[in-house]
Every structure is written in structure tokens, then in C-alpha cells.
């Protein structure tokens, strides 16, 4: 078994670079999507993915299971994201809305005009409040509702307990629900009741 401190040979480094290149080519866009949902900003998202990939592959000799790489990269992404928050908390501003390359408010592909309008309405309310959530809550929301991870899987990735995931999710949903209500848009609560 090779320890993490053992010198890495050039051939090993070459193999790592080859693996990294193939992995990036295959999974860049998927990782970028998650990073964008976390950061709300394209350049920060790209920086986050690059940082997480570099950290992961520097630790590559310790990862024996190639199938686990993506999970490891995502975990590094989330922990890096939260550490950025601690360092940059004072100078970070919330992103107002998700914009595409042309600066338009994003609408769902294939949506009808009515659906399109509704989606833009929902998004115009949801997205700014999502961006203002504490990073732990935002990461939890992305992992639970975009990555479709269970509470246990989310806890494992965030390195916290399932109870923390539950409470973070609850608080995030409560915040977003309140934002929807403040905006006049109605939602269905945990009990299935409609509130406006």
C-alpha cells in the first residue's frame, strides 16, 4: 500500500495527468453545472471546478477506487466552496438572477409561453433568495434537489450528520417558502396545504 507521503514517480504523475485529462473531458460540464448552482456565477464556477480537480488529483495516489473520483471531486468542490465563504464572506454579493451568455433570464428549454412566463416569475423570486442562503444551506439544497442525493448521502458528502442535513434543508425551504409568499406566489407546504 502506498502512503500519501511517498514520492510520486514521473510515470505515476503522467498516469495521473492522463486520467485527469480523460476525466475532465468526460465530466467537466456536469461538474460545472453543480458549481454554477453553488456559486451562481460562471467564472467562480469554473474556478471552483478547476480548484477541486487539482486538489483531488494531487491527492490521487490516495484514491484507489477510480469509480469514487467524481464523488471525491464533488466533496472537494463543496468543502472548497464553504471555505471560500469563510474567506470571502465580507466581499461577496448575491447574484441577482441566473443569466445565460447573452444576459437574458433563463427560461426552461421547450417551455410554452405561459410556462415560460411562470418559470421566469418563479425563478426571479427563487434565485436571488437561493443565492442569499447561507452556503451550507445552499449546498444542501443543491445536493438534495439537483443531485438527488438522499439525506445520508448528502451528509456523507458534506461531512456532517443527517440531522444537520435535515435542519439545513428545513431552514432553506422555510426561507424560500417565505420568499415565495412575500412575492405573492403560492406554494404547497410540508403538509400539502396551499398557502398564499
Amino acid at each position: 500500500m502506498r502512503s500519501g507521503r511517498e514520492p510520486v514517480s514521473r510515470s505515476q504523475e503522467g498516469a495521473d495527468v492522463a486520467h485527469l485529462t480523460a476525466f475532465v473531458a468526460a465530466r467537466w460540464n456536469a461538474l460545472l453545472r453543480v458549481a454554477y448552482l453553488l456559486t451562481g456565477d460562471r467564472s467562480s464556477a469554473e474556478d471552483l471546478v478547476q480548484t477541486a480537480l487539482a486538489k483531488t488529483y494531487v491527492a490521487w495516489p490516495r484514491i484507489r477506487d477510480t469509480g469514487a473520483v467524481e464523488g471525491y471531486v464533488k466533496r472537494t468542490m463543496v468543502t472548497t466552496y464553504t471555505s471560500w465563504w469563510r474567506r470571502h464572506r465580507g466581499r461577496e454579493s448575491a447574484v441577482a438572477e441566473p443569466a445565460d451568455a447573452g444576459g437574458r433570464l433563463l427560461a426552461a428549454p421547450g417551455a410554452s409561453p405561459a410556462d415560460d412566463l411562470e418559470a421566469v416569475l418563479h425563478r426571479s423570486v427563487l434565485w436571488p433568495h437561493l443565492a442569499r442562503l447561507p452556503r451550507g444551506q445552499r449546498a444542501t439544497v443543491v445536493l438534495r434537489f439537483y443531485e438527488d442525493l438522499s439525506e445520508a448521502e448528502t451528509a456523507a458528502l458534506l461531512g456532517c450528520s443527517t440531522g444537520t442535513v435535515k435542519s439545513q434543508t428545513h431552514r432553506a425551504l422555510a426561507t424560500l417558502r417565505a420568499a415565495m409568499l412575500d412575492s405573492g406566489l403560492a406554494v404547497v407546504d410540508d403538509e400539502g396545504r396551499v398557502t398564499r
Binding site: L32, Y57, D65, A108, A155, T162
Partner: protein, 366 residues
């Protein structure tokens, strides 16, 4: 994605979030530029150089510190008023144990001990079968098949979807019904086609359609919070995502039921982990998350396994395992993200065979 709405057309917040996050992410993907492979590799090399410099610096500091300690160590002296002589103790190197083998959780330790006891095999773990992407879902007698058809581009305003039944011999159309983007057939129960609507927790809500009927019928007897994870023949694996009664978190209540027309009848109840897929491909065996070293016939309740059906470990632990059934349903493999002391792989995989209830620890390369 079509949102579940109440009678007033109001969307559910969790579903709305799934939809919105998915749409935004899709748009990010479609507007992404070229993959910056070179930039990533350069970043990696920079981090690696910094890491090496840091390790080298730390090693130099350690050498200097050792020299200082050695040169400053003097024989202990004492006066009559002093207490017993003491010397500064040098930390002893700890045994090198991989972090994933260290746990204070008694259940995890029990699992590790049990894994270490199992006989070994040099076989390699099987790979998870890829979805064959089959579009045609054949009826039990093979005479007909259900197929899901989309007309028009997904982005077109007039896109429509159909669930069609065709004969296997000449592909002629037998019956059809309008659907939406999630109305893909997933199985047959007698002469009913089963379709699944995405549930709020990642599972599906099963509906049946009898060719010729005017609408789908939701399978009854499945309460809110319970969703379908698998269907094999007429057997459904249902998991309860909220209000679990039998199983402590993070385990989930699970049950296997048979479907007759649009009703269900209970066969087995137990616990599962999310993503575990404990039902065999033929639906004739199931593995409870409370006892991963054996499988039970959900109908006869006959248990075959390397341990007693109620033990030993994995009662309530939250270590997520990877679970794979052989396509022939004769064996299954469980990959524990735990390293048996002395093992040299990341995680430990066991294979259990139903015919003799024997489990072995696989030591071959994956």
C-alpha cells in the same frame, strides 16, 4: 419536467426547486464553452508543486527540530525536594491504519470484524450492468410490447408523447394513449402496462393502463411519502421516504408488493438504504439493509445467508453500501466503503450466493 400541482394549479416547492435547478443547470451546460483541459492540468501541476515544496519544507523543519531536541536534552537531575524524575516523553509512532478502518461505531467495527472472518476469493467484483436503454417493454407472453414515442422536438411547442402497444410479430399498432414526457412504460402486470411518474424523492409513482382504456389508473394502496424504486414482473419494491415506522434513520422502510390490476398485496416488509435496490432482478429474493449477509424469499420467507436473518451487524448504521445483483439473480455483491485491516483496496466487496447462502470476500481487482 411537469410539476405536481394541487387543484388550484399551485406548484410544490421541492418539485419547483428540482425543476428550476435542473433547468438552470441544463442551460449552463448548453452554453458552456470548450472544456479547458489544459488549464485544469496546469492548475493541477501548480498545486502539486506547491504541495511538494510544503512537504519538503516541513521535512526540513522536522530535521532541525530533532537536532534541537537532541542537543538540548540533558541528564535529569534532582534535589531532595524534587519529586520523582520525569523525562519529556517522545511521541511514539502510531500504527499506520487507514482512516476508513477506524471507527468508534460499534456496528461498523462489528461489520469489519465480520468481513475479516469471511472466506476470501480471488474473483474480481462484477461491474454494474449498464442500462440497455431498451425502448420495447414486452408483455409477459411476449406477444405485444409497449413503447413510448415522442413526436416533434422537445423544444417545439407542439411536441406530444404517446404510449403505444404493438404486436411483437409485425409491429402493428394495437392501442395508444396520449402521455407526457414521463410516461415511459416500465413493465407489465397481466394485461396492464405499468408506467411511473417521477416522485418527489427520486422514486416513481406507479400507474397502470389497460390497452383500450381511456386513462391511466394510479395503483392504489401506496400512501403519500412512499414511492416505487424497482419493478420486476408483478412485484414492486416500494420505499417510504417519510414517516418510517420500522426502520431507524438513515434506513428507510421498504416493502415488496405484488400488483393485481390496480391494487397491491404485501409480500415482504423490511429496511433498505436509498439506492440499495435490494430486490433481485427476478423479484424472487430480497436483502434487508439490516442483514446484508443473506437474502430472503419474500413469499416463503426462507432465508439463505452467512448469518442469522436478524444479525449480526448493519442494524442502523449509515454507511452507504453499493449493491449489485447478478443478472441471473443467483448472487449479489455488496461493496462496503470500509477497509478490512490488512486489505489493500479502497473498500471491501463481498459476494453472496443464494443457492448455498455462502458469502465470500473478494480480493481480486475491480
Amino acid at each position: 419536467m411537469s410539476l405536481t400541482r394541487d387543484a388550484d394549479g399551485v406548484p410544490d416547492l421541492e418539485l419547483l426547486l428540482r425543476s428550476e435547478l435542473g433547468d438552470v443547470a441544463d442551460a449552463v451546460g448548453t452554453t458552456a464553452g470548450p472544456v479547458p483541459v489544459r488549464a485544469v492540468v496546469e492548475r493541477y501541476r501548480t498545486v502539486r508543486r506547491r504541495r511538494r515544496a510544503k512537504v519538503a519544507g516541513a521535512a526540513l523543519c522536522a530535521v532541525i527540530a530533532a537536532v534541537v531536541v537532541v542537543s538540548s536534552s540533558v541528564p535529569a537531575t534532582r534535589t531532595e525536594d524534587d519529586g520523582p524524575v520525569t523525562r519529556p516523553t517522545t511521541p511514539q509512532p502510531r500504527p499506520s491504519v487507514r482512516s476508513s478502518t477506524v471507527s468508534s461505531d460499534p456496528e461498523v467495527r462489528a461489520v469489519l470484524a465480520r468481513l475479516a472472518e469471511l472466506p476470501t476469493s480471488t474473483d474480481s467484483p462484477m461491474t454494474s450492468p449498464e442500462s440497455d436503454g431498451a425502448e420495447r417493454v414486452f408483455s409477459p407472453d411476449g406477444s405485444r410490447y409497449a413503447i413510448y414515442r415522442q413526436f416533434g422536438e422537445p423544444s417545439a411547442a407542439d411536441v406530444r408523447y404517446e404510449l403505444q402497444i404493438r404486436t411483437a410479430s409485425d409491429d402493428s399498432l394495437v392501442a395508444k394513449i396520449a402521455g407526457d414526457e414521463s410516461t415511459a412504460p416500465i413493465g407489465w402486470v397481466g394485461d396492464h402496462v405499468v408506467v411511473g411518474e417521477p416522485g418527489a424523492n427520486g422514486g416513481q409513482l406507479p400507474f397502470v393502463w389497460k390497452p383500450g382504456d381511456r386513462d391511466y389508473t394510479r395503483v392504489g394502496g401506496i400512501p403519500n411519502g412512499e414511492e416505487m424504486l424497482r419493478i420486476h414482473g408483478d412485484r414492486l419494491l416500494l420505499v417510504r421516504f417519510s414517516g418510517s415506522k420500522r426502520c431507524d434513520a438513515p434506513l428507510l422502510d421498504a416493502r415488496i408488493v405484488t400488483v393485481r390490476a390496480d391494487r397491491i398485496y404485501r409480500l415482504w416488509e423490511g429496511c433498505t438504504q436509498w439506492n440499495m435496490a435490494p430486490m433481485s432482478p427476478d423479484g424472487q429474493a430480497v436483502v434487508s439493509a439490516k442483514s446484508l449477509f443473506g437474502a430472503i424469499d419474500p413469499k416463503t420467507r426462507v432465508y439463505r445467508g452467512a448469518d442469522a436473518p436478524d444479525g449480526p451487524p448493519t442494524k442502523t448504521w449509515d454507511v452507504a453500501v453499493t449493491f449489485t445483483w447478478a443478472p441471473d439473480s443467483r448472487s449479489y455483491e455488496v461493496r462496503f466503503p470500509l477497509v478490512v485491516p490488512g486489505g489493500d483496496t479502497f473498500g471491501t466487496t463481498i459476494r453472496c450466493t443464494l443457492s448455498d447462502g455462502r458469502c465470500v470476500r473478494l480480493t481480486g481487482a475491480s
